[in-house]
Amino acid sequence: MENRIKELRARHNLTQEQLAQKVNVRRETILFVEKGKYNPSLKLAHKIAKTLNSKIEEVFILE
């Protein structure tokens, strides 16, 4: 699953650490999600999308 977290994070001027704090996970989790090495749960995907003011399908792209 691809994602646009890095791009949207940059647009919102958020570091990985800040995004991690907002969605209540560790920075490593955001790092792995960004790299596509970890598929987040629906709950976390929703939180990330909400924090980045986007819809889930805009953040995560199912290949």
Binding site: A20, N24, V25, R26, R27, T29, K37
Partner: protein
């Protein structure tokens, strides 16, 4: 109760239980079994507290990826211990080695404890470098 306070309370409770267990044994106040129950309970409480302490620094104790990795590491650890105990059973049954119950239990405790920690690190590193 804050995380740090909870951690301190757990460690203190564990140490008190261990001390009680040893005092009972030294003063011969209760049977051997009661002392052992106290000591083992204390050790288990301290192990749980130490495992949770990992998350104190990050401030996130419910991180889903960490929980998934831990769960997977625990299942691998359980499987490894199960396989090892099976091997030890047959080694004992076929009288290749004569093992006592205490040896079995000690091996199981240490293999479970250390393999869980090692598997957790391994799975995390595989994810990191894959």
């Amino acid at each position: 109760m804050s995380k740090k306070k909870k951690y301190i309370v757990l460690i203190t409770a564990g140490l008190i239980l261990i001390a009680l267990g040893f005092s009972y044994q030294l003063l011969d106040l209760a049977g051997n079994l009661i002392s052992l129950v106290f000591i083992n309970s204390g050790v288990i409480i301290i192990v749980i507290a130490v495992l949770n302490f990992n998350h104190l620094g990050a401030g996130v104790s419910q991180d889903e990826m960490t929980r998934k990795i831990s769960a997977r590491a625990l299942s691998y650890s359980w499987l490894l211990t199960f396989a090892l105990l099976n091997i030890l059973f047959w080694v004992d049954y076929l009288e290749i080695l004569k093992l006592q119950t205490q040896t079995f239990l000690t091996i199981a405790i240490f293999v479970m404890l250390f393999s869980a920690v090692i598997f957790k690190k391994l799975i995390f590193n595989i994810r990191k470098y894959e």
